[in-house]
């Protein structure tokens, strides 16, 4: 793992096909948009904007809106970050940019 990578000129010899960069970035951004939509829906959506109608549903003593605001949103956040980290591993592998040591194992 190099520490200062931005000082090196763009990787690869001149004329190398760099279109993979756009495809990589597009996949990354699409994943971000999906995950952030869920992020906003469970917290600002269910926990604030729609809390009052959701509170009419009561499960195990919890009004549902309150449950989202104090519990559900947080469970979802943890899962979202895990999904992101695992999914990015797959995208990195697909494009050959994952960080590996000399033996090809994940660094």
């Amino acid at each position: 793992m190099s520490d200062v990578t931005h000082e090196s000129p763009s990787s690869g010899p001149p004329g190398e096909d760099l279109s993979w960069r756009q495809r990589y970035w597009k996949k990354n951004v699409r994943l971000l948009v999906i995950l952030l939509a869920i992020w906003a829906a469970v917290s600002l959506g269910a926990g604030v904007l729609f809390i009052e109608p959701l509170n009419n549903i009561v499960i195990l003593g919890f009004p549902l809106g309150l449950w989202f605001g104090q519990q559900g949103a947080i469970y979802t956040f943890v899962i979202l970050i895990l999904v992101y980290a695992l999914w990015m591993d797959r995208i990195d592998d697909e494009f050959g940019v994952s960080e590996r040591n000399g033996d090809g194992e994940r660094a």
Binding site: M1, D3, V4, T5, H6, S8, P9, S10, S11, G12, W20, R21, Y24, W25, N28, L32, L35, L36, W39, S43, L44, G47, V48, L49, I51, E52, N55, I59, L60, G61, F62, P63, G65, L66, W67, G69, Q70, Q71, A73, I74, Y75, F77, V78, L80, I81, L82, Y84, A85, M88, D92, D93, E94, F95, G96, V97, S98, E99, R100, R106, A107
Partner: protein, 558 residues
């Protein structure tokens, strides 16, 4: 010495000994160790360190107490202080780690310009100081109540311990101490919560059982003049709009706080930064998911106790806390009819938010060792956060301002370390003075740091990573308008610096203004960047490079 004092001393001395031992083992000699722990911290350990760094005295001591009285609206803190990690993990941590230097001002300095670097360094120092004051106050609560020390001495003792391991070990010492502090604070938080959950709810998982007591709690709350726990938008005067803005403000601020971002520089790889963020939020969620349950259970026990109490026969836990100045009883007619957390409410029993968690084992009648453990946990939370903040302050002063700006990168490694340690010493001394004169409630003070972080750092960091055309003029203009707008509104609505408090405009509280400040910053940065010259090819290439964790390898036939 009471048995409670004995156990408090026992756990405090034991844990302080562990912290100092770890700090001594991980003392450092080089700046890379001092600022980013040589970028060799494993993801799980880094996650635990982030969690301890994150969970301040406000989270540990203040939050459940606030939720107990706020009820449903307490979720602004729960969602705000966890939701920001999703933004951080997805939008910032991997890219800033890839770029890989020491501080947040350093990123914006290289990405934009030296002027922005200085503005960012000053903002980092101001935000971290706002925050560190809350930690000192939190430490003071623990000492004042359990050891009978005056709050002044408490602040000094806490500062000396932090000073010892922060100056000696820098980021490395702080990180490994924080791992230990996380373990101490989470055990201290969970044991009483599980015990109370078992005792009242009949099942040892508080996250599940607190739902079952909500109806009994709400009946009691109404009887004592409080709004219902489950009622949305009753706890905050601003209503739905304000709750929305405060939640968003805290989320954006979390993702923009320098002392949190800096932690992702310490991992080995970009992938490590992503997984660190996961572990960090996982560890944080253990406490945050428990906090509303602790708030509800303690509130229930408190009100049950108040129901039976008379002026001559108060529950035993009240007297010591009222001696320490955190509880007021004024039951003129012999019984307690109203309960509140607000000193101006004129209620018969007034309990400060800040003590509910620390007093919860006593209120619920748990044994003395657990109370001692609770005190050690509260101290761990305060110390770990304060140490992380002091590192940001000292690194902004010594690395960003001294090394990059004053010495023009010519200072030797040895001089840099000396300046780093001197800056840390200075920061500790200023923190002591700030802590001796603490304002308002612990958690509220901290909340304002978020508004400032949301309206200054967050937008220009995001644009710096995701928009190549964002330039120095735009970023400087954006940060300054964000800072002036948000800071101005806070000064306008709060009694600070001798100004009088004015009414909230459109019911937006000063804690929520950061979200609007962030939008202002985004708009100004984008508009000004479009009107001025785009950044150099070199900078644009740098932004391109941080998007990919590693140079591409085509050997595996992908």
């Amino acid at each position: 010495m009471t048995s409670m004092q004995f156990w408090t001393f026992f756990f405090l001395i034991l844990t302080f000994g562990i912290y100092i031992f770890i700090a001594w083992r991980s003392r450092v000699k080089e700046t890379k160790e001092f600022y980013v722990a040589s970028q060799g911290v494993p993801a799980v350990a880094n996650g635990a360190a982030v969690a301890a760094d994150w969970m301040s005295a406000a989270s540990f001591i203040g939050m459940a107490g606030m939720i107990a009285f706020l009820g449903s609206d307490g979720s602004v803190y729960l969602m705000g202080w966890t939701g920001g990690y999703v933004l951080l993990a997805l939008l910032l941590a991997p890219y800033l780690r890839k770029w890989g230097k020491f501080t947040v001002p350093e990123f914006v300095g290289d990405r934009y310009s030296d002027t922005v670097r200085v503005v960012a360094a000053v903002c980092a120092i101001v935000i971290s100081f706002t925050y560190v004051v809350g930690q000192m106050t939190g430490g003071g609560v623990v000492f004042a109540r359990f050891l009978g020390l005056s709050a002044e001495w408490a602040v000094v003792v806490a500062a000396v311990v932090i000073f010892f391991y922060a100056v000696l070990g820098g980021m490395k010492g702080i990180t490994y101490t924080q791992v230990a502090q996380y373990i101490v604070l989470i055990i201290a938080y969970l044991i009483p919560a599980v015990a109370v959950s078992q005792a009242i709810g009949g099942f040892p998982i508080p996250q599940v059982t607190y739902g079952t007591i909500l109806s009994e709690l709400d009946a009691l709350r109404v009887e004592f003049g409080l709004h219902e726990f489950i009622e949305a938008f009753a706890g905050r005067a601003g209503g739905q709009l304000d709750v929305f803005l405060v939640t968003l403000s805290l989320m954006l601020g979390t993702a923009g706080l320098p002392h949190v971002i800096i932690r992702f520089y310490t991992t080995k790889t970009v992938r490590g930064a992503r997984f660190s963020a996961f572990w960090a939020l996982f560890f944080i969620s253990l406490l945050y998911l428990t906090a509303p349950a602790v708030g509800a259970f303690t509130n229930l026990n408190l009100l049950r106790g108040a129901q039976e109490a008379t002026a001559d026969n108060l529950p035993a836990w009240i007297q010591p806390w009222s001696d320490a100045g955190y509880v007021t009883v004024s039951a003129g007619d012999g019984s307690i009819d109203t309960v509140s957390n607000s000193a101006d409410s004129g209620a018969d029993l007034i309990v400060s938010n800040d003590i509910l968690v620390l007093a919860s084992p006593e209120i619920s009648g748990l044994p003395a060792p657990i109370i001692g453990l609770m005190a050690a946990g509260g101290m761990a939370a305060a110390l770990s956060t304060a140490a992380g903040l002091l590192l940001v302050i000292s690194s902004a002063a010594s690395h960003d301002i001294y090394y990059r700006m004053i010495s023009k990168e010519r200072a030797s490694e040895k001089t840099q370390m000396l300046v780093g340690r001197l800056a840390m010493t200075g920061a500790v001394i200023v923190a002591i003075f700030a802590g001796l004169n603490p304002p308002a409630f612990v958690a509220q003070v901290v909340a304002f740091a978020f508004g400032l972080a949301a309206s200054t750092f967050f937008p220009i960091l995001i644009l710096g990573v995701f928009w190549k055309k964002a330039n120095a003029t735009g970023a400087a203009a954006g940060m300054l308008t964000g800072l002036i707008f948000t800071g101005g509104y806070m000064i306008y609505t709060l009694e600070v610096f001798g100004t009088s408090a004015n009414d909230h405009i459109f019911n937006v509280s000063p804690e929520g203004i950061g979200a609007i400040g962030a939008v202002v910053n985004f708009v100004v940065t984008i508009v000004v960047s479009n009107l001025t010259r785009p950044p150099s090819e070199h900078v644009q290439e740098m932004v391109e490079e941080i998007r990919y964790p590693q140079a591409r390898r085509l050997t595996t036939g992908s």
